[in-house]
């Protein structure tokens, strides 16, 4: 790895705020696990996957992802990505960095890599923390799929890994969107607000039945499709569609970020 990507990665993962976000994300599944254990949720008193956590710790992974994917994870990933360029522009480091003998395209690629790596880290923080808490608080056993069939624990672990990867891909899409917005403004607050507003707007549009014509093309529409991996047989249609939508947004977003970042005047 060249020096620029490693510098950007180090900047992203050494910033105290970004580490605090990861810590909060790690804490969420533990809190959910303790709540389920103490309050005795289960036996059809909770909704959906939370019901099964008490009987099988591995379900804490699925339930935690289902709980964090609609808001916590995308906002965390989006906030960090939105700071990548606008944050540097605001505190003046961007001008210093641009004085280095490095092309702007390579610099942007390094920032993109850092934002996407943070998306991977955030998703796996939730998943691994949930796995640890689930194993500590509850029994781990064969998994009952949504279809009612049961798969052995080993197969269930590989399904859990696939699920984490699908969620990671969706969150990487959010990272690219956040970075794109970050290149459009010099104010980190504006970039953050814009990214969060876009996420919330997409989710509201996704919940209004009358907008069903545009819903398949919203980046947030199929974030919860990862649960299709818990069916027998696995239904790939929605997941595949969702991944293509993420790719489309990422390609358009990255090209916009590149055009803006390489052409704007920063020599003030």
């Amino acid at each position: 790895m060249g020096p620029i990507p490693s510098i950007e990665l180090a900047l992203t993962f050494r910033r105290r705020r970004n580490l605090m976000i990861l810590a909060v994300l790690a804490l969420l599944p533990i809190l959910v696990g303790i709540t389920v254990r103490v309050a005795g949720i289960g036996d059809a008193t909770g909704t959906g996957m939370l019901n099964q956590v008490a009987g099988n710790g591995l379900f804490l992974v699925f339930a935690s992802l289902a709980l964090t994917v609609p808001l916590f994870l995308p906002v965390a990933v989006g906030a960090v990505a939105a700071d990548q360029v606008a944050g540097d522009a605001a505190d003046g480091t961007l001008r210093t960095v641009l004085a280095w003998p490095v092309g702007r395209t390579r610099l942007l690629a390094a920032k993109l890599l850092a934002a996407v790596t943070y998306a991977v880290a955030a998703t796996f923080t939730v998943a691994l923390s949930a796995l640890a808490a689930g194993a500590a608080l509850f029994p781990m056993r064969d998994v009952t799929l949504l279809s009612g069939a049961t798969i052995p624990l080993g197969t269930a672990f590989s399904r859990a890994l696939l699920i984490a990867l699908v969620v990671t891909a969706c969150m990487a899409g959010v990272a690219v969107i956040g970075l794109t917005i970050s290149t459009l403004t010099d104010s980190p607050a504006t970039a953050l607000a814009g990214t969060v507003a876009l996420i919330v707007a997409a989710e509201i549009a996704g919940s209004i039945p009358q907008l069903d014509a545009i819903q398949p093309w919203l980046f947030s529409e199929d974030w919860l499709a990862f649960a299709d991996l818990l069916r027998s047989p696995v239904y790939w249609g929605t997941i595949t569609h969702s991944l293509w939508v993420q790719a489309a947004y990422a390609v358009i977003g990255a090209s916009l970020a590149w055009a803006r970042f390489t052409s704007r005047d920063l020599a003030l």
Partner: protein, 383 residues
Amino acid sequence: MRPRWRLLTPVAVAAAVVAATTLPHMLTASDSPSLPRISLVGLVQKVGTSPARAISGTVKLSIDIGLPKLPKLGTDGGADPLRLLSGDHLIRIVADATDGEQRERIALLDTLSEYDIYRDDSDLWMWDSTRQLARHSSVDALSEALLAFASPAELAKTFTGPAAIKTAVFDTEYSSEQTTRVAGRDCYVVRITPNSPGTTVGAVRVAVDAATGLPVSVTVYPVGSSKPAIKAEFESLSYQADPTELRFTPPPGAKVVEETTPDLPENPMQGIGTGWTAAVAINNVDPDKLISGLGTQNKPKPEPEGTAAVLAALAGTPGTPLQSYLRMMMAAGDKTPVGLVWSSRLVSLVFTPDQRLYAAFATPDSLVATVTRANTEAGGTHS
């Protein structure tokens, strides 16, 4: 000059992405394979007489009969057959009748949840993933009829099956359209246009697999509308069924409820009237029990929380959003001398004081007339 050119790049990329997503759709839409000519009579006879003994596939079902659409409320309530009343749904269908027994699996694939119906000849299992509840009962006439609704093949039989053709042939026009492709299968297309007053069905379009005669797509248009009220179409289809997928044993940890089928004094369902305006009557319907018993046991439910509580408060009735929605629908019926009457773009319902529910693809006036006629006939023979 260079910066300007660069700013055009995202526009070009966006245009390329849009083109890449829309072009394949446009190409497949105009895809009409050339098939050997078939006479209209031969084609109509082909529908629903499929020799296929085993199928498996995924069906996209869109229902828009004029009821308000249910908002997607995340995981609340989970997959539920009553959600089929409106909106878009994904249904997996597997059926196997190769060894003389009828085995079926119908699964409603909903966000984070699934509702499965497994049928093994006369044995019936209903699996609700949200509540981890397996209900065991036997197939009766009512469940048999409900099972038939989800698959395009069965739905098509409602309009084109031998019985339907016999009753409807005199007031129906059949025409063949261009061929099409559905789920990778070459299909003939039949258009069925009712020619009788009083019906709400404007036209029915059925795509039939040219090789097997299985209806793979059914679209029902209400009178005077080009927006389908029902569209059921296979998204993927194979003429094989995995026997392991058709077997259901309650998973460990699930609640199992054994339900005895009540001894019904008479056939719970009966047909009334003939032709396109014919009605189906379901006896002994208790709407309150039906709504409060949606997939749950008949024990007091815990108070709703979160979004469900807000919606319940708005609706003024306790229960899940789906239950409140159905109660509001109940209250919205017109009170007539015959009973409560509901109408929609496609289906009209009459609920009479003697707990019978009549349903028909007919205008409310036509259905009320049918019900009145049935009542006077029954009254005439009894007294």
